[in-house]
Amino acid sequence: MRRLGYSVTLLLVCAVVGSASSAPRPAEPGEELQISDHPAGQYGGTLVVAQRSEPKTLNPVTAADAPSREVIGRLTADLIHINRSSQQTEPALAKLWTLSKDGRIFTIKLRHGLRFSDGQPFDADDVVFSFQLYLDDKINSPQRDLLVVGGKPIEVHKIDQYTVRFTLAQPYAAAQRIFDSLAMMPRHLLQNSYQQGKFTQAWTLTTSPAEMAGMGPFRVKQYVPGQKIVLERNPYYWKADRSHHRLPYLDQLTFLFVGNEDAQVIRFQAGETDIISRMSAESYALLSQQASSRGTELFDLGPSLEYNFLVFNLNDLSSKKLAGIAAKQAWFQDLKFRQAISAAIDRDAIVKLVYAGRGAALWGNVSPSNKFWVDQSLPHPPRSLEKARELLKAAGFSWRGDALLDPRGQAVEFSIIASSSNTQRTKMAVLIQDDLSKLGMNVHVAPLEFRDVVNRVFQTYDYEVSIMGLGGGDADPNPEMNVWLSSGGTHLWHLGEVKPATDWEAQIDQLMQKQMVTLKYKDRKHLYDQVQEIIAANVPYVFLATPDVMVGAKKSLANFKPAILDSNTLWNVDELYYWGPASSSGARP
């Protein structure tokens, strides 16, 4: 009797432990796994990554900052995913989709038999619920605006248990890209708090792991405030490798919070972390000296997608009390003045001294690494102080001694603001100040605290010239709509335009609107090329440079495929594994 009692208890214990453990489960009948297309690896190991600052939340719907999104991206999955390597979309939770002829109706078929990380089934109800969350205007998700096309939010209808239909108010180019990074949320866990209006407080860092679930390769195991967050394998993850072994290979993924880039470098050098992402060129040089001896490998992936630029304050200042700046706008509005500044700036020095040679000079907003969208025919004029002087002379400027005077005899003097926490932009400002002093311009550099810069540029317009950086989100032009549309929220040089202030801005508006609803790539490229040419001719921004994306990893990490798009190193974390003898913790289904 007793022995039976023992064995029953033992069985029960095993069952309980087995269901709670994060060993990958064998494939169930009816479960449609996505088969990954890479060489098979082996199970085991913990990956340790350092982050510069702590995530603020684990709620995918409300998270806006990069560290939170980095962690959340490993815990969740989307319907359609952009493959970071190829920059094209591929099926994820959706196994296939169809687009109606008019480009407005998307019908998505989900994979059958999938489960959340807590074992509960995933189906169309969760999809509809998730979109409810994103579109709810009381929750104010940062991703809500992506789902508002043609002024109306996207409509979501459940067709059957595994089919969902999305209706857009107007055809939208590359509409499937909208779905990337829109995490699918578990209705069974969040329905209640949503109905009680408490959704925004859900899923903070201190929420117990049992209350959270996602479709990502990992689930939360432990959070130590101020230090790290530990993720463990999701035993129900819906991808498998070619040998039908369920992914991910790694047992654990740990994010350490180290405070700044230097601490990241120190930890990576000491072997405490396995991956380092987006480091600066100096760190790259430092780490590459000892890379081989420490068993690490560094990658320079080429220019990133972001662009840094000088923006001149061309806002309408009549209502604000900024008479001094309004007087200077006479210079900023002169095209030749802006062109002269663009000609005088030593972009090569910026790349050499700010990015230590690992970067690319820019003359437009599309980075040279964005092969699908960059206009190859744009001119890249070399730096020329003579040309700058000619342009200024033609615009009526003159010199008295060393100082540049405008047509009315005023000395040209202005200030450039930049975020003090961004050392690269501050360095660019210092170099530009020196360059422009050779033209006789008296330029001040004012490093201001980041939020102050944002406040002046977006709100009070109390600035003359600023160095800003944008871009980097996606290669596709659509996320840039708000930057180039005259009514857009990031149309920095002239915000709040009721109608386009100039002809060329009106032209850009038309072209951008058109490319948004054009479905064929070639036509869109042609339109976007024209936009780039207009921008280059009218210089609303003086484009400066872009840094290279540089990452590093231990050589023992296999399948490491860093990419230019976020998340540069962890986008394929479910495929990463360690070389070497199979670890003891690896369990084969």
Binding site: D262, A263, S283, D346, L353, V430, D434, E449, D452
Partner: protein, 343 residues
């Protein structure tokens, strides 16, 4: 008198340091704002007495730096030609006292060799010159802020010590408040509402004003102590008996006793305020480019690669330590002098 002699030595040291900094234009071989973009992060120029051929030169000379192909910011000396060090050489233009232009520098070498006694920074600017010019700003900030603190401290200390009762209470409570203020935050706020035409003099003065006003509490307490003890002395009471007004008593009897404290406090506060300015500039809250300040010069050390690879960027710290040592020895000597005087 040992105390006297110590005071003299410390004072001379301090004066020569201040002199060098005051005449930074003359002593510095380069213009602090000129960017030699081909020479970022060059190590300090070495002074040689023995050349490649083994001959000894009486006059020290330098070899110019040349960039190496391999690695980032690597340099080697090119031994083709020696460039001797000369005194009183012509060089970049500078202004004496803000108006007279001059060209002669204390020492220098012929072009194309360049004298980078403390190496260069990220933009190829000569650190030694920047340290000298930066000293002008950091020291001036310290001195002015001390003046402000002592002024307020003297005023509040006298008022509270002399008039006593509720004035004393309220002044001391105010002092406690100031000792506890989040001055970093205050500075962030003040810095960001500066008018955009942030001329460097305005930022500088504002910085100085804030540091000075935040620090009046401690000297005020000390002065109050002195005033309290002097107030009850018999000759003061006698003076009152003769009909002396408060103002007279303050000026004639009380104030002279405070001079000792004021001087010692001044010698103690100046380095503290210089360090305060350096710390603020280190965090990026100080003057804007290209104005150097010891704090902004040290700020580059916050980057790991600079900390590890370019040791000469620590040089401003040496200047800071020298100034602090100078002032503290003077303060010490003052204290000893006061003690020996009062015995």
């Amino acid at each position: 008198m040992a105390a006297r002699r110590k005071l003299m030595v410390a004072a001379i040291f301090l004066l020569s340091l201040h002199g060098a900094i005051l005449f930074a234009g003359f002593v510095a071989p380069q213009d602090p704002a000129v960017q030699n973009r081909d020479f970022p992060f060059v190590p300090p120029t070495r002074l040689h007495f023995v050349d490649a051929g083994g001959r000894i030169h009486l006059r020290p000379f330098v070899y110019p730096w040349v960039a190496r192909r391999d690695g980032l910011y690597q340099y080697e000396e090119s031994r083709e030609h020696e460039y001797p060090l000369h005194l009183f050489v012509p060089g970049p233009r500078y202004l004496i006292a803000g108006c007279l232009a001059a060209h002669t520098h204390l020492f220098g070498v012929e072009w194309p060799a360049q004298l980078f006694l403390a190496g260069t920074d990220n933009y190829g600017r000569d650190q030694f010159s920047r340290i000298l010019f930066g000293g002008q700003i950091s020291l001036a900030a310290g001195l002015l802020a001390t003046a402000i603190s002592l002024f307020f401290g003297l005023f509040m200390g006298c008022v509270s010590g002399f008039y006593g009762k509720w004035m004393d209470e309220s002044a001391m409570r105010l002092a406690e408040l100031f000792l506890v203020l989040p001055w970093l935050y205050l500075l962030l706020a003040v810095r960001s509402f500066l008018p955009l035409h942030v001329s460097s003099t305005q930022t500088f003065l504002l910085l100085v004003a804030v540091i000075g006003t935040v620090g009046w509490a401690r000297p005020a307490r000390l002065i109050r102590g002195v005033v309290l003890s002097t107030k009850s002395r018999k000759y003061v009471l006698a003076s009152r008996g003769f009909g002396a007004s408060n103002a007279y008593i303050l000026r004639r009897h009380v104030l002279p006793h405070t001079y000792g404290i004021l001087l010692t406090q001044a010698a103690l506060l100046v380095p503290q305020y210089v360090i305060a300015e350096v710390t603020l500039s280190f965090f990026g809250l100080g003057l804007s480019e290209p104005m150097p300040s010891w704090g902004s010069l040290l700020a580059s050390l916050q980057q790991y690669n600079v900390l590890v690879s370019y040791w000469w960027m620590f040089a401003p710290a040496i200047a800071l330590v020298l100034v602090t040592i100078g002032y503290l020895s003077v303060a010490n000597a003052f204290e000893q002098q006061l003690q020996s005087d009062s015995i």
